[in-house]
Amino acid sequence: MTQPHLTDTARRGNSKRNDNSDYGHLLPLFDDLARLPEGQARARVREELVTGFLPVAQHIAQRFANRGEPYDDLLQVATLGLINAVDRFDPDRGSDFLSFAVPTVMGEVRRHFRDTSWAMRVPRRLKELHMAVNAATGEMSQRLGRAPTPSELARHLDMPVEDVYSGLEAGAVYRSQSLDEIIGPDEDNTSVGDRIGVEDKALAGVEYHETLQPLLANLPERERRILLLRFYGNQTQTQIAQQVGLSQMHVSRLLSKTLAQLRETMMED
């Protein structure tokens, strides 16, 4: 990102408020924009203006960062504000573009914080309480060297402690997390939802398998062979009977006896 350049621009912009030197080359374009009819040429000029002034939006978004909203969202909002400012600016009125654009973009970002940043609808009074409590927490932590308690906040803000409770609780719904939210940039893009565990149904199968293994090994050779032919070889009892040289009745009896025996020993453990 172009952050270092940005702050640099911003600092210079701040020290001399009305100096448009950084963007001076863009200013004549506003006359073109006003003059040109709708069409490709005009769209190109508009685009050039918006891209040219983009650092302004970036700088303002940066100023509102670390307040609980992702920077990228703020940048989007600020950029929209900038586009609006470019569209609405009238060079004939004599004011310069930055002193028009900066309040417009800031207003847009502030509106974003006020209207859309809360994940749930919260009454205005609670929002204000939350913001007051939040601001005071930062300030007091700084001064005390530790987090303040609700009663300290109440004293500081000169409001009932119950209001501080409400303000703190309102914070819980400020931002809800989406199940589809991607965690971190380098985690192979898994979303929260993908990482929620479920009980592995196959796990019980593993357990049975492990328990059965030694029991099968303990079976007499003939019984094991019949079992294998029936359940792994998928043969009928008559086919098995021919192979092992017994009657089908006998095979049937041996099978049910072996299964019952296995089930019983498994339950014992």
């Binding site: 530790r146 303040p148 308690t149 609700p150 703190l168």
Partner: protein
């Protein structure tokens, strides 16, 4: 629970994960009303959530999770318990347990004989952090 201040709270919930938000909210509210600092409020909330999470993983279906908060002027004691099928004590390895034991002053777990099923219990205690300055 012998508590002179009369601020004890007991929460009984169906032992399902879906109930955890209620437990969290209650834990935070108890700490808040004890005027714990903001960080401790968040810690107690997290610890109780984690403890109940550990218990719920073992809880009998359709049983009840009981969370008792016993605040005193110097500390908040919390006891969480569920009915379990077998009497294996809670594993004290995992990340959850580590988290709890790091954030609280004392924590212990035990299995008690219940009327029908055994009770798996986590007891924890978080002292009011000394206010610096």
């Amino acid at each position: 629970m012998g508590n002179r201040a009369g601020e004890a709270v007991e929460l009984r919930l169906d032992a399902t994960l879906a109930q955890l938000p209620l437990v969290r909210t209650m834990a935070a509210a108890v700490a808040m009303r004890q005027d714990y600092d903001i960080d401790s409020i968040a810690d107690l909330r997290l610890v109780v959530d984690e403890a109940c999470g550990l218990l719920l993983a073992r809880a009998l279906p359709f049983s009840t999770l009981v969370v008792q908060f016993d605040p005193t002027p110097t500390e908040v004691r919390v006891r969480c318990s569920v009915s379990v099928l077998n009497e294996t004590p809670l594993a004290r390895s995992g990340l959850g347990w580590r988290l709890i034991s790091t954030l609280v002053d004392t924590v212990s777990t035990a299995v008690f004989d219940g009327e029908v099923f055994a009770e798996l219990v986590i007891d924890l205690c978080m002292a009011r952090r000394a206010a610096v300055a």
